[in-house]
Amino acid sequence: MRSAFSAALTRLGRDNPDVLLITGDHGYALFDEFRKACPDQFINAGIAEQNMVGMAAGLARLGFRPFVYGLSAFVPIRVVEQIKMDIAHDDLPVVILGDGAGFVYSHLGPSHQSAEDIACARSVPGLTVLSPGDRYEMTACMDLAYDLRGPVYMRMGKADRGEVHAGTLSPLVVGEPICVRAGPADAPALLATGAMLTTAVQLAEQHGPMAVWSMPSIKPLSTEAIAAIARSSSAIIVMEEHSVHGGLGAAVTEIVTEVEPCRVLRIGIRDRFSKHCGSYDYLLREHGLDLASVKERVDAFTATV
């Protein structure tokens, strides 16, 4: 997934010399390919995220196409005001890349863990929010982010959870879910984004027939598409490695309560910080986001609908 990211960025940079990669002193080896191919299009803005995002706005005003990279615990969280006022307010074509979302930095504690970024980004007017779930979605999201020519936040979570799609995707339509597997109308549909997508597919395989929808595009979200999923299933289960407050689960709930009321189970990070140190898999267990814990909740929920 990370090599797909690097390849897409390098391709965009080669195709358009106005593409700039601006990093807040993060991405040590990740950008080797880009720096080799486009050395003059790489800017290390130092450990100074606020100035970095403001500068990206200035560069975009002159016609450059900045991709601004940071850890999602800092970018967008620390700079949400710069994204709001310097970039989104003027609808500037800046792509904000927040890496290490969720519990990627499991050993480093809550300062580097990111459960709030989607919620913050969703509330900024006109900011598109993307969250790829495998390498093919990564490539498609990078192309979409570039083609949108507006402000985009792209969340990058745990990158080694395997592939869900069989191959290259057709161009993404912003706001539209991707059907990963169909399911019967009398079972809940699973909607998942980012690293939880592979868990959703594994769950559907264990649980019995259930539709699985991937949600690489979180905002805007097609009201029609979500309503259609609600109509064609008994309930909706949303899975994300993000707070249950303000994330994809919240976004889906907001839509269905208005247009197609149905039960929604939001599986995500509950309202608390990580308590312990440990591996990524350990932290998923601590937060009840590992496959076994999720299956338990889904089984209990399914029994009630």
């Binding site: 010399p17 606020q50 706005a57 200035g58 975009a60 002159l62 450059f64």
Partner: protein, 318 residues
């Protein structure tokens, strides 16, 4: 009421959509040699008698009265700085506030925006009927802080510490384009409390953005009181110098001195970014407003307005 719903009022956005600067500039990198004809001032540019500080302050008072607004003191401290920049330094080919080859006047201390509006009025970019007399009217265009959707204003800077970084990004972009365009960024001394300003200075210095000139409006006040009492800055010039800027001090109300100082900094061959520390007086021009921070907030009553105009005219007559 939405902007579009306001009947009979032609918005300045109608003819100047925000996205204009982006689309036409996406082509290949263009190079303008120093002294390119594109850079000569427009023939229609107002001549030396324009941007008279007394007239600019009267416009500010008229706006403040029309809108019943505060922030008069913040605008008055930068009147001469604005006048000199518009009269002699900031280049707008064809007099077009959105021309891609213009210099960028970035008002990072957005609270002084009425001084910039007053200059934009002299340029014909704003008019009395729609903008000055309707300031703060329902459905009107001009905000009480710098807003980049208004042609002529480059940044949205009500939140302090934003505009300077955007200006640094513009300067970096102009350097990459290889043009001789410049960025003038007006920063308040109170605004220097904000961290991103210093982040931006580090970047500008490291990347040798000699096309950037930071102008500090050192009026000695911020929202709650004197800068010395709130967050003592010591020597601003020494701090900027230590951050790698080529610096100068100047009396921010002496137009001749401002002109000389800016010209000298621009003429320098040093690769360093430039900074001018302009010592100013908050509320300058109306004696009862000078050094009195209540004019950061106080709304201008009809009586205040009359007294201010009278005091302003008497002051200039001396």
């Amino acid at each position: 009421m939405s902007k579009g719903a306001h009947s009979g009022h032609r918005s300045i956005y109608d003819t100047n959509p925000l996205h204009l600067p982006f689309v036409p500039l996406c082509g290949p990198i263009r190079h303008f040699p120093r002294g390119s004809p594109l850079m000569t001032p427009s023939v229609s540019w107002p001549q030396n008698d324009a941007f008279d500080p007394r007239s600019l302050r009267e416009t500010v008072l008229a706006m403040a009265r029309a809108g019943n607004t505060g922030h008069v003191g913040c605008a008055f401290s930068i009147v001469e700085i604005m006048a000199v920049l518009y009269r002699s330094f900031v280049r707008y080919p064809g007099g077009d506030p959105r021309h891609p080859d213009r210099d960028y006047l970035v008002l990072s201390k957005g609270h002084g925006v009425m001084a910039q509006y007053a200059c934009m009025r002299e340029l014909g970019w704003l008019n009395d009927k729609e903008h000055i007399e309707r300031y703060f009217g329902d459905g009107s265009d001009l905000m009480g802080l710098s807003d980049s959707r208004t042609p002529g204003l480059e940044v949205s800077s009500g939140s302090l510490g934003h505009g300077f970084s955007v200006g640094v990004g513009i300067a970096e972009g102009l350097r990459r384009r290889g043009t001789d365009q410049r960025v003038f960024a007006i920063v308040g001394d109170g605004e220097l409390n904000e961290g991103p300003i210093w982040e931006g200075m580090l970047f500008a210095s490291h990347n040798k953005l000699s096309n950037l000139m930071m102008i500090v409006d050192a009026n000695g006040f911020q929202a709650m009181g004197r800068t010395d009492d709130v967050m003592e800055l010591g020597s601003i010039r020494q701090k900027l110098e230590s951050f790698g800027f080529e610096t100068a001090d100047v009396d921010g109300h002496d137009q001749g001195a401002l002109e000389t100082a800016i010209r000298t900094l621009i003429a320098s061959n040093s690769p360093r970014p430039k900074a001018l520390v302009a010592k100013t007086i908050k509320g300058k021009g109306v004696p009862f407003m000078e050094h009195d921070n209540q004019w950061h907030y106080r709304h201008l009553s009809a009586q205040d307005y009359e007294a201010s105009i009278e005091a302003l005219r008497a002051e200039v007559a001396l």
